[in-house]
Symmetry: C2
Subunit: 271 residues, 2 copies
């Protein structure tokens, strides 16, 4: 627990900064990994992003995000698959091992149909990801996001979905913010052994206001981070990057040279 | 589906009105049941509330809420049990069959300990409830409330907890707002056969802002209300009251003589 060799700064934590500013801050503060978001990548351009990251000596832990498979029409679903293929290309260009899948929500009220569209979408995407050596990481999202971002809401559901595919290509991402409340969280982390391809940390602040922006810096909320990290390591994810992913206006408004030392301190103290 | 004989107005839906105003509105609009909240009961006084409800010719579907078992000290936990006994007394005085249990959250980060405190609390409360003929209805709350209101977050967990007790005294309440997202919701409703003591309806609005106040009138959101009602009826809750429970500022600011016709219309059209 006494080093930051596994620490990754998920770029959404520094949403107000450019990719260049974020990787420079990582380099200044000795943070070895960054997780890249595609909207930031689009601002910078892939070629330039690759150079910025390489020149800063930073590695990419994951690319966020693919997914968003459900849509009202077959044409739109095909377009989403095509966009996921481009995300796989981006991940490969960045040298990221993992493309995070935020699976998407129903275009209507039929969440069961949306879940089938997610399974179909992953099935279509897998051969392309496999060919390029990118692992797809299914990230179950908190049930508060079931109507807007992901119909895949629990570790159990993510695992049952992942188990339809080769573990070399399809895994699961455990983000504490999304899963901490689950009465089966420890059992399900154990059952995910061999499938875990990412571990994301933040904290759940109390009281909850806007549930999307309610993440806090580790130690500021109610999540038992150490116990969850131990469970994830026990399940085999013992050396991969640990991403700090915080969506929070106050965090976003903190200067990077104040924020990164705080994140390092809390990572060492609380994770 | 063509009558309102099972319709109950949960009093939180008319939070700005007194109990007297709410039961009078129910009587005017032919709504046969009301679900009473204890903070409103305290304003009115139990004796007067009993008379108001009886004089209006309205029945009480449930009293909300008991629960809130976890606390930092044994003395505080004992005080909570004592308060739950008073809630049982209130339910008996009102002629309500069911006391809704919102089980409570951890006083610290230890959600597993909180879950044990809930089980211990219900164990202590059961003999008193049994003696007075009140059923305790464990209501799993949406995981967004796990840190502040209820460590019991899924139907499965509520069922496993309820199964430790006699079904004549301890049951489960299915509230669509809390459970709609669950990939196992239909399986779990089926497994709850014989244990269901309440069915609450509203809707999940999109986009989510404040998750506590995000409920909508039935039909305004994404929940498959008819399918859930059919499942609940299939599981044996086929004649009991169906409560409309909506926490939403716009609903609260709607005059009762506008709101109640809307609720009736949507209940008939969507539930």
């Amino acid at each position: 627990m006494d080093s930051i060799t596994r620490l990754s700064l998920n770029q959404i934590t520094t949403e107000r900064a450019s990719l260049g500013e974020t990787v420079d801050a990582c380099a200044r503060h000795g943070v070895p990994y960054v997780a890249v978001w595609r909207h930031k990548l689009a601002e910078t351009g892939v070629g330039r992003a690759v150079r910025l990251i390489r020149d800063a000596g930073i590695r990419v832990s994951s690319l966020c995000r693919g997914g968003m498979f459900p849509a009202a029409t077959a044409a739109e679903r095909a377009a989403r698959i095509e966009d996921n293929r481009r995300a796989v290309d981006d991940a490969a260009a960045l040298g990221a091992d993992v493309l995070i899948l935020v699976c998407g929500a129903a275009p209507d009220k039929d969440i069961a149909a949306a879940r089938r569209m997610v399974a179909d979408g992953i099935t279509e995407l897998v051969p392309y990801a496999q060919k390029r050596g990118i692992r797809l990481g299914i990230e179950p999202l908190h049930p508060a996001f079931a109507a807007e971002r992901s119909c895949i809401t629990t570790l159990r559901e993510a695992r049952c979905l992942a188990e339809r595919f080769d573990p070399a290509t399809v895994g699961i991402v455990a983000d504490v913010y999304h899963i901490w409340w689950d009465p089966e969280v420890f059992d399900e982390i154990a059952r995910a052994a061999g499938r875990l391809v990412g571990f994301h940390v933040s904290d759940w602040l109390v009281p909850v206001g806007n549930v999307l922006m309610n993440r806090g810096v580790m130690g500021d909320g109610v999540i038992e981070l150490r116990a969850l990290r131990a469970a994830v390591e026990q399940a085999g994810y013992a050396a991969g990057p640990i991403e700090v992913e915080i969506m929070n206006e106050a965090v976003w408004n903190t200067p990077l040279d104040t924020l990164l030392p705080l994140i390092k301190e809390r990572y060492l103290a609380c994770v």
